[in-house]
């Protein structure tokens, strides 16, 4: 049978670096073909070539056996290639319907036919099994629903090849399954799907075949039934990587941070928690549990409406990030690009941002000291860049995440609130980040980790607090916890049993 899409021996170089060398990849109709690899392996380059954003230097692409030239994204659309990018590309101030149909809204006598637009939108959204109002503004939708709108937008183009780039990075665990249901349906309709994800568990759940890229070359293409997770990881990083092993803890110290009855209208309510020196505490929960908001409140980025926060026994008011930093609390956002980094500035400028005063004498910034300090951090965190002057926007996602961590460490915090520490980073980087966080705890810091990646929480944390609808509903000792137990508590499907009830430990 002729494959739906056939990429043959494609190469592409950028200013001296070979991004892709002789990469071949096929996609059959009705197949989910996963594409995995570390950051910088060439996945994005390959997908940009398929989507018509980039042109290959060598090699050819065939669709249904015919050689095609995809010279523009428009041409890709015409060929039936749809792509859902990692960064959402929706217009927030417009409705769902208008976002899906963009320039293809049905018209009558040159005017938009609003009724037909609504009908078509409903028809496209129906298989997703969720009710999204076609006239809701995208700005008002939760991220998970925006993702659906994005996919619906690609489907409205009558796609035959659908590329999903990290489709679950913004989804809470319970909605991943809903997405998979949609994918299975598309597969049954004969659509070929290229699925890119760092979450290998997802790939084993949904893909038929998996292709591993490393340094711009195809390492292997195998049927999913012929490989296992360790094998894929080995192929990705080119070496053995130990399984995520649970942290061995070195005991905990004094209470560094205590929150009592912390509430914020319509977000979280009566939150009690204590963080002890030397421990890593996880914060699990589904979308709508308002974990991020609680994290922001502890980091001074969001003001609670009532309740008390004590740092080292002293009651404090965290009116803004500056006061939190002064108390030794650093907060790391999960929105790396929009809230976390200064993408057009250098690595050094980014790293010193929260600690400008430490690099200043008589009010003047000592650039030399800043660069030296940044370089040190880069070496410690193994940030791959030519030097500290490199612009952060040009780094890979994993390296950007490390820059953000380096920036946070520059304020020399004792308490760290970290939202999604390994969002969008590859397996190797994730492990490096985990060992860094462990070291921080061993050195006496207290860490609160918010993550939607349950295996990460289980491996990294000493105990896990579970939030549901703005309240902490339980606490689980990480060594005894299972993903199922955490999920059940987060979803509220099991009653909270005695030993899971929130309790305060005595230091």
């Amino acid at each position: 049978m002729v494959p739906l899409l056939e990429i043959q021996e494609v190469s592409k170089a950028f200013a001296g670096t070979q991004a892709l060398s002789r990469v071949s990849f096929t996609l059959a109709a009705g197949e989910v073909h996963a594409l995995v690899g570390e950051n910088g392996a060439g996945k994005s380059t390959l997908m940009n070539i398929v989507a018509g954003v980039l042109q290959p230097d060598e090699g050819s692409i065939r669709m249904n056996g015919e050689t095609v030239t995809i010279e523009s994204p428009r041409r890709a659309q015409a060929l039936g290639i749809g792509i859902v990018f990692q960064e959402l590309s929706l217009v927030e101030s417009l409705s769902v319907a208008e976002n899906i149909f963009v320039d293809r809204v049905p018209t009558r006598a040159g005017l938009v036919d609003w009724r037909r637009l609504e009908e078509r939108t409903r028809a496209i959204l129906a298989p997703f099994g969720v009710t999204v109002d076609p006239w809701a503004l995208v700005a008002d939708l939760p991220v998970s629903q925006r993702q659906l709108v994005e996919i619906a937008k690609a489907l409205s183009l009558d796609v035959r090849v659908l590329i999903l780039d990290e489709p679950t990075s913004a989804l809470p665990p319970d909605e991943v399954e809903a997405l998979f249901a949609v994918i299975r349906q598309l597969r049954a309709q004969g659509i070929g799907i290229i699925y890119i994800s760092h979450h290998l568990a997802e790939i084993f759940a949904i893909a038929n075949r998996v292709t591993v890229l490393r340094d711009g070359r195809v390492v292997s293409t195998t049927s999913i039934s012929d490989c296992d997770m360790d094998g894929v990881i080995r192929a990705m990083v080119g070496r053995d990587v130990g399984a995520m092993s649970a942290r061995s803890r070195s005991g905990t110290g004094a209470a560094l941070l205590e929150a009592r009855g912390l509430s914020r209208t319509d977000t979280f309510e009566s939150v009690d928690l204590t963080l002890y020196a030397g421990e890593i505490v996880g914060l699990a929960g589904l979308m709508g549990a308002h974990r991020s908001e609680l994290g922001r409140a502890l980091g001074g980025a969001l003001r609670p409406s009532s309740g008390e926060i004590r740092v080292g026994g002293q009651p404090v008011r965290l009116d803004n990030v500056q006061t939190a930093l002064r108390r030794g609390i650093a907060y790391l956002t999960d929105e790396r690009k929009s809230d976390g980094l200064f993408l057009e500035m250098s690595i050094a400028d980014n790293i010193i941002a929260p600690a400008l005063h430490r690099f200043s004498r008589f009010g003047l910034v000592d650039s030399h000291a800043a660069v030296v300090a940044a370089q040190e951090r880069m070496d410690r965190l193994r940030i791959k860049a030519s030097d500290a002057h490199q612009i952060v926007g040009r780094l890979s996602g994993g390296n950007q995440q490390k820059v953000m961590l380096a920036k946070m460490l520059e304020s020399d915090p004792r308490l760290l609130v970290i939202d999604e520490p390994s969002k969008g980073v590859d397996v190797g980087t994730k492990q490096e980040i985990h060992s860094l966080l462990s070291e921080l705890a061993d050195a006496g810091a207290a860490l609160l980790i918010i993550s939607s990646d349950l295996p990460e929480l289980l491996a990294l944390c000493d105990r896990i607090l579970v939030m549901r609808e703005g309240q902490i509903v339980g606490e689980i000792n990480a060594s005894a916890a299972t993903e199922e137990a955490v999920l059940a508590m987060a979803a509220g499907s099991t009653p909270v049993t005695a030993n899971e009830r929130p309790h305060e430990r005595h230091a």
Partner: protein, 329 residues
């Protein structure tokens, strides 16, 4: 734009890399363009290369250059200020009225500067506390300040000022007017401060990514307020110097000055999106625009045509920059 960029050690770089880095900077491009205009004009007309012409040009561009310092800081932090021309007029009439009313000169100057500072603070607070868009906020204060200066003077200039007030505006030091020396000193201080002072460096972070700046613990609102106050203070100073030079306060002075300043800053490399720009670049932008206008006057091009040319130069400068950037990425 970066803190550390300019201080990068030269030793480790090849001459070519260094050359490329220098060429990539807007200041270098403008300096070359300015030189070309000077060379061409000195061949075209003998009057161009005269001390009198340069002195006239320097005095003429002084207010624009002084205000451009503040405007650059504002643009870098992602804001801008349309009220500067009106503040200049209000403070020039204000200082004249106070002196004419019998107040000591020093006190009147301080009073006029205070008026500027208050308007700047108002701009800053309206933008940061009330969340009003800078365009709307400063459009409002622009109208108010102009209105107040017209109300106070009923539209007439305030003259009959004591000769002592004209000292700064009318004296030369080492062959150059004092106003020009003041301008040069302020530009030098402003450039160094925006490059190296910790407090002002924060403007680049705010303009680069306001949310990230907030989460990095940078006092976003206070830096923006300070930028507005500085800009208005500089506009007030420009107004006082203008009054001293003309020996009168004119309520209609500085009309459309805000657009000239913005145009010069943008030609000099500042971006309306924030995060980019240097005081030196804006200063070169001011000189560049002044030179083009001067050249056209020398070549007897009508004043109306000059406006057309200035507009085209503004768009061309920014468009070329955008094209070069797209090529580079």
């Amino acid at each position: 734009m970066s803190v550390t960029h300019s201080d990068r050690s030269v030793s480790g770089m090849s001459i070519f890399a260094l050359a490329r880095r220098v060429i990539a900077r807007r200041e270098a491009t403008l300096a070359v363009l300015i030189l070309i205009i000077v060379l061409v004009m000195s061949q075209a007309t003998p009057h161009f290369l005269s001390m009198a012409n340069f002195r006239a040009m320097a005095i003429g561009l002084a207010p624009t250059a002084i205000i451009a310092i503040g405007m650059t800081i504002l643009l870098v932090s992602g804001g801008f200020d349309l009220s500067v021309g009106s503040v200049l007029a209000l403070c020039s009439t204000g200082v004249a009225l106070m002196i004419a009313g019998g107040l000591p000169i020093a006190l009147s100057v301080i009073g006029a500067l205070l008026i500027g500072a208050v308007i700047g603070l108002a701009n800053g607070l309206i933008v940061t506390r009330l969340g009003v868009n800078p365009l709307v906020a400063t459009l409002g204060t622009m109208s108010v300040a102009r209105g107040v200066s017209l109300v106070l003077t009923e539209g007439f200039s305030v003259s009959n000022l004591p000769p002592a007030f004209g000292y700064i505006g009318g004296t030369n030091w080492l062959g150059l007017p004092v106003i020009v020396w003041i301008t040069l000193a302020l530009v030098a201080i402003g450039d160094l401060a925006l490059r190296h002072a910790r407090y002002l460096r924060q403007a680049y972070y705010i303009g680069g990514n306001e949310k990230a700046a907030r989460l990095s613990g940078i006092p976003v609102d206070s830096v923006r307020c300070v930028a507005y106050v500085l800009t208005a203070l500089l506009a007030a100073l420009a107004g006082i110097l203008l009054a001293s030079r003309l020996m009168s306060g004119t309520p209609t002075a500085g009309a459309a000055l805000e657009l000239q300043v913005l145009a010069a800053a943008v030609i000099g490399g500042a971006s309306l999106r924030g995060g980019e720009g240097t005081v030196l670049g804006s200063f070169f932008g001011v000189i560049f625009v002044a030179l083009i206008n001067n050249a056209m006057t020398m070549l007897e091009v009508s004043i109306y045509w000059q406006m057309i040319v200035t507009g085209c130069v503004l768009i061309a400068a920014v468009a070329i920059d955008m094209l070069l950037r797209r090529r580079r990425s």
